[in-house]
């Protein structure tokens, strides 16, 4: 995934885009994360200042939501659905298979920084379970063999 290095001017430009409108903190944080690959600590005071919030309020929001992360993920992100409909179709075994193959648990990044594995709770593909999302691309009816092929295909 392409991510820009931290750049206060670029951050200021993103912030300016959200200075109009109400309750724009979440959309702004999404933009920051899409741009920099995470919500860097240095962004927090800038955001707080622009939206007239305390740093604590911004920090509270960044840490409340599962999506936001303060350090970059691996080059590839593999999300495996671990919710009930996928459980009924073997998602727990699929997760164990992925963990064994990657050598990390869900929620961790491989030592070489290539792959971050995550649990996700529902992608809305519950009739074609188990499901995965790899670098934003959806996959349904994922067998261990199909997962291997998808991981193999990652550059």
């Amino acid at each position: 995934m392409h991510a820009n290095p931290w750049n206060p001017e670029l951050a200021a430009a993103l912030i300016a885009r959200h200075s109009e409108g109400q309750g724009t903190l979440l959309p702004l944080l999404h933009d920051i994360q899409d741009t920099f690959g995470c919500v860097p600590e240095a962004a927090v005071p800038l955001v707080a200042d622009a939206l007239n919030l305390s740093r604590a309020e911004v920090h509270g929001v960044v840490t409340f939501y599962h999506d936001y992360h303060r350090t970059p993920h691996g080059a590839h992100v593999v999300k495996l659905c671990q919710a009930e409909a996928c459980q009924a179709m073997g998602s727990r075994d699929l997760a164990r298979h992925a963990e064994a193959r990657l050598g990390v648990g869900l929620g961790e990044t491989t030592k070489d920084g290539r792959i971050t594995a995550q649990a996700v709770y529902c992608l809305g593909l519950c009739a074609t379970a188990p499901s995965a999302m790899i670098d934003g691309k959806l996959a349904g009816r994922v067998t261990p063999a199909r997962l291997d092929a998808l991981l193999e295909a990652l550059a």
Binding site: Q22, G23, T24, L25, L26, P27, L29, H30, L51, E57, G60, V61, F64, Y65, H66, D67, Y68, C81, A83, E84, A85, C86, Q87, A88, M89, V120, Y121, C122, L123, G124, L125, C126, A127, T128, A129, S131, M133, G136, L138, A139, G140, R141
Partner: protein, 509 residues
């Protein structure tokens, strides 16, 4: 020849994009429709012939050359299904809310209008704001998000307020596992939701609508944002909607991976840019909702049903259903089920019919052991309760809920103690932290079930767990902590044998 290849996320997840590309490259005009909701047949390619549509599915990339040859020839192919609407799963449905899904081009406003779109808004404007509220009230439509509160009463309350600014908020934070109806509407017939929200705005005097959906739904976000732009460009949103002299516009907000934001007050906090923590009620959102102002907050399916209610009249809608559950419900069959998908039908169909007859039993072919209805906060029912009719009150009477209409099927390999522990773990992960029973109770609950699974002081821990469930049920601020006991207690009640563990040898743990 014109072909339909669904752009629905679930079809895409099983290869629809690649198939659409290959068919386009072969010179066919490909429309990316929504899904018909028969997911075991996806990717379902439909060819338009003079007599109607002919379906082929499930199509793999390897099937494409043969399919192309068939389409250029007499149409015969091993995957040929005939007219999709004659497939019993689809034929036996009553599609009101999903009438257009899978049929129209979801990017085309013209197609929407050609298939009856905006007839509901025209009727609403003819009835006037108060008449529209009354029509929705008379239809008996209840909140499809899960709580089942009458939609018309929410509208009436907001309409009666005098605030200068009011809001319509569409709850599209469809986080329940086993549910995908909101996603299908946003991807397959987004204008029906735009129209439903617009009617709500007209009826209550709200000029601004927000739709809050999940970041896990990128396809739905893209499609709905496109629909907003198209509707705005055509004058169906903006300062003078459809020339009817009222203003209404919509903004989409994406969540950030917090299940609790599906709870309406947490959702409002999140739109306001705060942590998604639950607000105590009262005040009700209808009085003090978004930014402290009167707000209608309805689920996607409730709002997407409003156009058909208006267009065909409250009476026509109300004639479907049973008891106090009027109209139809888009039921979602998911998990380990042979014929998984979206099944819209009048309330009253039994759980057994849904799972065994319509769903065809398990995909693995093993016996059904448990069915979780209503998402992660819904109860697990054994086949012994399969005579329960799909109805808000009937499920409540058996200590369950229909929730957002998700039905997740498990075969006999399921460990119900593991499922109960997951319910507590999920609640612990997703708790907003505002109230103690949920925040602490979920963690303790998961630990206690873990002890039971290890065979440690089973009777004592079982009693403790039941007591804890009672505390969470009665003491939590919202449905997350309050309903997590449903899956846990139903597992203990109906699958007691899974909790009667003998101590494991130490080495096995």
């Amino acid at each position: 020849m014109k072909l339909f290849v669904p752009g629905d996320a679930a079809a895409v997840a099983v290869g629809a994009d690649e198939i659409a590309e290959a068919l386009s490259a072969a010179g066919f005009a490909v429309v990316r429709n929504g899904s018909r909701g028969m997911f075991w047949l996806e990717p379902l390619v439909e060819a338009v012939i003079p007599a109607g549509r002919i379906g082929y599915g499930p199509v793999t990339l390897e099937d494409v050359p043969g399919l192309i040859a068939a389409l250029h020839g007499d149409g015969a192919h091993a995957l040929r299904l005939g007219d999709p609407e004659q497939i019993p799963f689809l034929k036996n449905q009553t599609r009101l809310t999903f009438a257009r899904c899978g049929i129209v081009d979801p990017r085309s406003l013209d197609d929407y209008v050609a298939h009856g779109g905006y007839a509901g808004l025209r009727k609403a404007v003819a009835l006037g704001a108060a008449g529209t509220v009354e029509e929705v009230l008379q239809s008996g439509l209840r909140g499809r998000g899960g709580a089942g509160f009458p939609t018309g009463i929410k509208w009436k309350t907001v309409a009666a307020t005098a605030a200068a600014q009011k809001y319509i908020v569409c709850n599209a934070d469809e986080g329940d596992s086993g549910t995908f109806s909101d996603r299908m509407i946003m991807e397959g017939d987004p204008f029906v939701l735009v129209e439903g929200m617009t009617i709500a705005g007209y009826a209550t005097g709200a000029t601004k609508g927000y739709i809050y959906t999940r970041s896990e739904y990128p396809h739905a976000i893209a499609m709905f944002n496109a629909a907003i732009r198209t509707a705005r460009a055509a004058g169906y949103l903006g300062g003078n909607v459809a020339g009817a002299g009222f203003a209404f516009d919509i903004e989409l907000r994406a969540g950030a991976g917090a299940y609790v934001c599906g709870e309406e007050t947490a959702l409002l906090e999140s739109i306001e840019g705060k942590r998604g923590q639950v607000r105590p009620k009262p005040p009700l959102p209808a009085h003090q909702g978004l930014f402290g102002l009167p707000t209608v907050i309805n689920n996607v399916i409730s709002l997407a049903t409003v156009p058909t209610v208006l267009a065909n009249g409250a009476g026509a809608y109300k004639n479907f259903g049973m008891g106090r559950s009027r109209g139809t419900m888009p039921i979602q069959l998911a998990g380990n089920v042979r014929h998984g998908g979206l099944y819209e039908t009048a309330f009253g169909v039994t759980l057994g019919e849904l799972v065994q007859t319509i769903g065809g039993g398990t995909l693995t072919g093993r016996p059904v052991r448990a069915v979780q209805v209503g998402g992660p906060l819904g109860a697990y029912f054994p086949p012994a309760l399969f005579d329960t009719p799909f109805d808000y009150e009937a499920f409540a009477a058996k200590d369950g809920l229909i929730g957002h209409g998700g039905v997740v099927v498990f075969d006999d390999t399921v460990d119900m103690a593991e499922q109960a522990r997951f319910a507590m773990q999920f609640c612990a992960i997703e708790s907003c932290g505002k109230c103690t029973p949920c925040r602490i109770g979920a963690v303790r609950g998961a630990e206690t079930i873990g002890k039971i699974m290890q065979g440690r002081e089973v009777a004592k821990n079982r009693a403790l767990l039941i007591d804890l469930c009672q505390t969470m049920k009665l003491g939590s601020l919202c449905a997350l902590g309050g309903f997590t006991p449903y899956p846990v207690m139903s597992a203990i009640t109906h699958f007691a044998e899974d909790f009667a563990r003998s101590p494991l040898p130490v080495a096995a743990e």
